[in-house]
């Protein structure tokens, strides 16, 4: 049973609820993790990696860059443009998440809406390539 796909859907819904309640920084956090959880789901369900594999391979690395770079390489096998689009979008959303979580900066509604749009594009790229 892979609960990560359900967690991804729940994080996306949480992002919408938080955005609708003007909790913009937290909404970006939830949107980013909805992407990360779907990527983890694909790693396990489609690529067949176990939790132990993931822990071992990502050890002593930036976990986020590690998983993003795996997907960039996988997208590259089929379509370089899709690989570049995926990579740029997820890096941008990651930067928004860092600003939202850790930086002393206000997060506007427009940034939350942009994060939602980027999330939709990332999820679509993943769903199209992995038929999930």
């Amino acid at each position: 049973m892979f609960v990560l796909k359900i967690k991804s859907e729940e994080s996306y819904k949480a992002g919408e609820i938080l955005q609708n309640n003007s909790l913009f920084a937290s909404s970006i956090h939830a949107y980013y993790y909805s992407c990360l959880q779907l990527m983890l789901y694909i790693l396990m369900k489609i690529f067949g990696k176990t939790q132990e594999d993931i822990d071992e391979e990502s050890k002593n690395k930036s976990f986020h860059n590690w998983i993003i770079n795996i997907f960039h390489s996988e997208f590259l096998k089929n379509d370089g443009l899709r690989a570049t689009r995926f990579y740029t979008k997820i890096q941008k959303l990651k930067k928004y998440r860092i600003d939202a979580d850790y930086k002393n900066v206000e997060i506007s509604e427009s940034k939350s809406i942009t994060a939602c749009n980027i999330t939709n594009e990332i999820l679509k790229l993943l769903q199209e390539d992995y038929l999930i």
């Binding site: 770079n69 690989a83 570049t84 890096q91 930067k95 900066v105």
Partner: protein, 104 residues
């Protein structure tokens, strides 16, 4: 060559090949990610997303530095760089900026 040297060499090449652009570079040590802001936004495609040559740069970067990240972005992306470590303008950047100001 480490990742920062790779980024600086890339910026030098980009600003020589495209003399009307400016690049500002910051490295986030916490996230091991390199951020490069490129202006003007017209350097990117119509969606403001990618620029010509970005695909090859990212492919080489990810292959050489698999633990790190890289993002090219423009002024419409609502991302501020607090501590840039390197800046470089193409030789026609100021001229292009002034003529753009005069037109608008």
């Amino acid at each position: 060559m480490n990742a920062s040297e790779f980024i600086i060499r890339t910026i030098e090449n980009l600003t020589e090949e495209n003399p009307y652009i400016k690049c500002v570079y910051e490295y986030d040590n916490f996230d091991l990610t390199h951020y490069v802001k490129i202006t003007p936004k017209e350097f990117f495609d119509i969606n403001g997303e990618l620029f010509t040559g970005e695909e090859g740069i990212l492919k080489e970067f990810v292959s050489r530095f698999p633990k790190e990240g890289l993002l090219f972005f423009s002024e419409d992306d609502e991302i501020e760089l607090d501590n840039p470590i390197y800046k470089r303008e193409g030789i026609y950047y100021q001229k292009a900026l002034n003529s753009h100001k005069n037109v608008s």
